[in-house]
Amino acid sequence: MTQLAAHPSARPRTRYTASGLRTDARPLHQSLVNWANTGWLCVFSGVGLSMVGILAIGTTQPGFALRQIAHLCVALVAATAIALPHYRWLERAIIPLTLAALGLLIFVLIPFVPEVIVRPRNGARRWINLGLTDFQPSELAKIAYIMGVASYLRVKQNYRTFVGVLRPLALSLIPMVLVLVEPNLGMTLLFLPMLFAMLIAAGAKMRHILIILVIGLSIAPLSYPLLLDHQRDRIDAILAQMRGDPRHQMDIGYQGSRAMTLVGAGGWFGVGASKSASLIRHNDLPEEHNDMVFAVICCRWGLFGAIITWGMFSVFAFGGLLTAGLCKDPFGRLVAVGIVAALFAQMCINTGMTMGLLPITGLPLPFVSYGGSSMVATWLMVGLLFNIALRRSKYLARQSFEFDSMPQES
């Protein structure tokens, strides 16, 4: 129960409009900003992971490690910037943000855009050239997507029905297809965990979710012929590796087998800096500073290092879920869940592919992999999370996403 102020403040009285009531009915003894919040868990674990990343990159590429420090600084600035305004302003900007993201996604795909602006790499059109660095619209699309879905689920309540669950799924296909065509299969697949996590958190019925998952997994193998050659190759390679078939170790399975060998070579505590540098160099691990950085971590610090890394991601996830739980605002809750799901899923996919559980995708490890675009995007999400954790709820809102018939206490 909210208490009415015993002594109204010296501020001029406002009219009791609905919006006015909303803005004024707030507990006066509490400030709007909660400095001791669960978001720090995410920030500290993020910084820890970034440090691990810098050290890991520095094992074989000290130059890149220095640049990664610069990327971290830029990313921290960006995170701070996004944490400053209350996130409700972002919520209000959701439509233009979404349109901008979609527009950029379409922009990179337009064939006759000059190569100065959209520079293809190996035939993939994913990056916009910003002079100093390349910027991936799909990263921005991820953030916009989380906020868009959170906004949708907050407004619509019909996702408790089966058809209602299918609707957001269908809407998600638009950005997914745009990203898929770049081509970027890894990023496309990341949309699904985000959506499902947010649906689960929002209260969609579990059996609906499970039915969709079962149907989806059953028809997924049928899409094999539709995939591009290199995507099919990667699936072939992982299947061969799992069977113990060494045929593809020297061509399409090369990256996977090298990564697995180096991960295993670390043992309990790793082989140390210089030895791991030699091993990585002579075993010829490709992309050791970005996609395969987890293999470097395992090689240098062993099982211990992997556990520390996963531990920090778990702390991050814990912090994020705690933020979601403590947040009373529905938009904030879902965005927090979405961010945690995005980063955690990306971490699982990346480490899974490094260890030979999944086919090779192009997804980097958040915080750890080298890359300005990825760092900034990740830290933007951390900033958003911190933003959510920072705010105390201003108004008494109906407890959101409670569909059980238990009476609620405020």
Binding site: E115, R119, P120, R121, N122, G123, A197, I200, A201, G203, D245, R247, H248, D251, M260, T261, L262, V263, G264, A265, G266, G267, W268, V271, K275, S278, L279, N283, D284, C298, C299, G302, L303, A306, I307, W310, S314, A317, F318, L321, G325, R333, V337, V340, A341, F344, C348, T351, G352, M355, G356, L357, Q399, S400, F401, E402, F403, D404, M406, E409
Partner: protein
């Protein structure tokens, strides 16, 4: 539900659910991590660290083959070869160079943004220039190497064809293997390049020093395309020799008082064998280089190694093969461990290569004794060259001093037509692998059998009746019981004279009384139907014969004897065995070996080519036949009379129009104990009439009623003991005394030249002018 009470808020419950899902994912990932680092950790560590090991292997030398006097018959000699990279040979080098050039010209950043079609265009623009470069290289190679462009092209095309066919075979094998192991379909198979497709291939062998220098310079002008490779070639220094032979002791018709220098090619090449440069799958299986436990057998086989493929090179492959050296370097610490290469061990042969070359010259058609002449009374057309073989053994030790088979492999390779090769069969080592009926050569052994079995008393005389079977007067006759000789018979003879006169009836009698089983037993004792294992038989670990140039010959089997019984001709067959006809065959080596055994009184010391056999001692057949000394003395005496008394069939040759007969063995200072043999030969066919790739009974009737010419015996210093056993055969030579005899005579002179026997080898023919005998002088074999 409890959860509702514990966590009242559904949202929080859902968060808890998400947390649990995350936790499960972590467990999954953690599990895989533990599997990789802890359970499989050491394997992966080893695999990763193996890349830090740099191993280089150092080449080694193959062991030498030496003769009894230490002369080197086979050795590895360092040489330089010119090799061209396979990508240049196929032309793909031009494309890869064009790719690099295009990429450099366009710039790495721009290149990665181009699509595949544009990239292809840029590459195609640059390719002709690089193709031109290849052609320039080839022109330079031809000019320095002194070969024509066409020859070089032929070599290159051959290399391409052979690599492609070996790649196809390898891929087929791999495809079958993978289909079986992994159940993949045929289309899924991915062909990986085989080693030969990434190597450089030799186009010019054995460069001269000047060429090596020029080619080294050329390889700097054309980097990455050619290289000068140091290699080892197997050389056989004694393969060709110039042998001076004195013609003054030859039969009168071809005698001249001059020394003829004969060039012989392929001396002992059947025995020495050869190496091949191609390693086969079975070599790598037998002794792989990379062992299953990850270690390395330095003596194991790698592609490009030489492997003995025939002869001593093959039989003693494991002895001759050396061990590679190794340099093991850790890339991270830089420490080096070096193991030097171990050269292969040498093999010492009992051969005397000079004697071998000399005897080969004696058997050469150039010298004339193996060509059909008038005095030989041969039905084969005059001037026809004949194949032949000769073996010389040392009686005391059984060591083979010479073993010649004509034609040699080298002579066969030099033959101009395949037809000639098919007719003469140069790949057969006739001395140890050629099987022939023994004919009269067997007679001393028949005598030995009869005396040792007690069916003949050495004091008994046997009357020569001319024919043995009443009912078959024209079969199983004595050789002088023929119209051409006026149907003569020998008088009652003792054993030694029977040998000397080669009376068939005597030996029919002995064989008849012996019966086939006892005769066969004694022939077996003397080494017939046995592989003597002189060093030309390669056995696998299980004792199975993998390669052999030794034949056992044949004695009648129990089944055959049973078949005789069914046909009812047992008596006839076992009787004619006594004079070496019927189902008995042997090799010239076995003939010399049997006579040596006889000379030793029955002590068995089977012939051998190897001194200090590195394979260990041969299992012996038995130690001693314990021959009756009087038997041995009688047999030896009979052999002596055969060649030294004027009634012996091996003493002289009567020539029409000459008053004095020609003494066959005309050397002084030596005593010879020998037997002539004229053995029935199969019809002579030399043309593959039906073009089926073989010359056999299907190729027409051939020339019938021909004989092989044998001369087998012992020789020693005059008044001394027999020191050496000699066996000579001339295929289709006709009469033993007329054709093989003079050859044996020359071999005795050769032994004198090489110091094995006393006397002057250049002394003119002695023993001339012996009075002509009344009786016929050569045995025409059996009927």
């Amino acid at each position: 539900m409890d959860t509702r009470k514990a966590i009242p808020s559904m949202f929080h419950r859902r968060l808890a659910l998400l947390a649990i899902v995350f936790a499960l994912l972590m467990v999954l990932l953690g599990g895989q991590m533990i599997r990789l680092s802890v359970i499989e950790g050491s394997e992966h560590r080893a695999a990763a660290e193996s890349k830090l090991d740099h191993r280089e292997y150092l080449p080694t030398y193959r062991g030498q083959i030496l003769d009894r006097d230490g002369r080197v018959l086979a050795l590895d000699r360092a040489s330089d070869d010119l090799a061209v990279e396979y990508s240049v040979i196929t032309g793909t080098w031009a494309r890869s160079q064009a790719y690099v050039a295009a990429r450099t010209d366009v710039g790495k950043a721009k290149w990665s943004s181009l699509g595949p079609e544009r990239r292809e265009e840029l590459i195609a623009e640059r390719m002709p220039a690089f193709r031109q470069r290849i052609e320039e290289l080839y022109q330079a190679v031809c000019s320095i190497g002194g070969i024509s462009r066409d020859d070089l092209q032929r070599t290159i095309d051959d290399i391409k064809a052979s690599v492609q066919s070996s790649a196809a075979a390898t891929w087929e094998r791999q495809r079958q293997d993978e289909m079986q192991r992994f159940g993949i379909s045929e289309e899924e198979f991915k062909a990986r390049p085989i080693a030969a497709q990434t190597d450089a291939h030799i186009v010019l062998h054995r460069l001269s020093d000047a060429q090596t220098f020029e080619f080294r310079r050329l390889s700097q002008q054309f980097p990455g395309m050619i290289e000068v490779q140091a290699s080892r070639r197997r050389e056989y220094p004694w393969l060709t020799a110039n042998v001076p032979l004195n013609r003054n002791s030859l039969p009168r018709e071809i005698r001249r008082d001059e020394v003829q220098v004969i060039t012989v090619a392929g001396v002992a090449d059947h025995i020495l064998g050869s190496v091949r440069d191609q390693v086969w799958a079975q070599d790598m299986e037998r002794r792989p280089f990379n062992l299953k436990d990850g270690s390395v057998d330095l003596g194991g086989y790698l592609p490009g190694d030489s492997v003995g493929s025939r002869g001593i090179e093959a039989v003693f492959e494991d002895t001759l093969r050396g061990l590679r050296g190794a340099v093991h370097q850790r890339i991270d610490t830089g420490e080096k461990v070096r193991v030097d290469a171990t050269p292969g061990r040498d093999v010492h042969l009992t051969l005397d290569i000079e004697l071998q070359a000399r005897i080969q010259a004696i058997l050469s058609h150039e010298f004339g004794l193996t060509v059909v002449h008038n005095w030989q009374h041969n039905q084969v057309p005059l001037g026809t060259p004949l194949n032949s073989a000769a073996v010389v053994l040392e009686v005391e030790t059984g060591e083979i001093l010479a073993m010649v088979s004509m034609p040699t492999m080298t002579m066969g390779a030099a033959m101009s037509t395949d037809a000639e090769r098919l007719a003469t069969g140069p790949q057969v080592n006739r001395a140890s692998d050629g099987i022939y009926p023994p004919g009269s050569i067997l007679k001393p052994l028949t005598l030995a059998a009869a005396v040792m079995e007690g069916v003949h008393n050495l004091d008994t005389r046997i009357q020569c009746s001319g024919f043995y079977f009443e009912t078959m007067k024209t079969r199983a006759r004595c050789w002088i019981y023929r119209p051409v000789y006026g149907m003569q018979t020998h008088e009652a003879l003792l054993a030694d004279e029977a040998l000397a006169r080669s009376c068939n009836i005597f030996f029919y009698t002995l064989a008849d009384h012996l019966g086939v089983h006892r005769l066969r037993k004694w022939l077996d004792n003397f080494g017939l139907a046995h592989v003597l294992d002189i060093g030309l038989t390669l056995r696998g670990k299980d004792g199975k014969v993998l390669w052999s140039d030794e034949s056992a010959g044949q004695l009648p089997t129990d089944e055959e004897i049973g078949a005789w019984k069914d046909r009812g001709d047992t008596k006839f067959n076992e009787t004619v065995m006594g004079i070496g006809q019927g189902p008995i065959t042997w090799t010239p080596l076995q003939a010399a070996n049997a006579y040596a055994t006889l000379a030793r009184g029955g002590v068995i010391r089977d012939a051998t080519l190897i001194i200090d056999d590195p394979r260990g001692t041969r299992p012996k057949r038995r130690d001693d036949l314990n021959l009756n000394p009087r038997l041995v003395a009688t047999a030896i005496e009979g052999l002596r009379q055969s060649v030294e008394e004027n009634y012996g069939t091996g003493h002289h040759i009567k020539i029409e129009g000459e008053e004095n007969p020609e003494v066959i063995l005309n050397s002084d200072s030596v005593t010879t104990w020998a037997k002539t043999g004229t053995a029935t030969a199969p019809p002579l066919r030399t043309v593959d009439l039906n073009n089926d790739g073989e010359i056999n009974g299907k190729d027409g009737p051939g020339i019938k009623d021909l004989d092989h010419s044998w001369f087998v015996g012992l020789v020693g210093p005059r008044h001394g003991k027999p020191l050496y056993a000699i066996a000579v055969i001339v295929e289709y030579g006709g009469s033993g005394g007329r054709t093989a005899g003079p050859i044996a005579n020359q071999i005795i002179r050769a032994l004198q030249t090489e110091g094995y026997l006393p006397g002057d080898p250049d002394s003119p023919a002695s023993g001339q002018g012996a009075p002509a005998r009344q009786e016929p002088e050569d045995d025409g074999g059996d009927d």
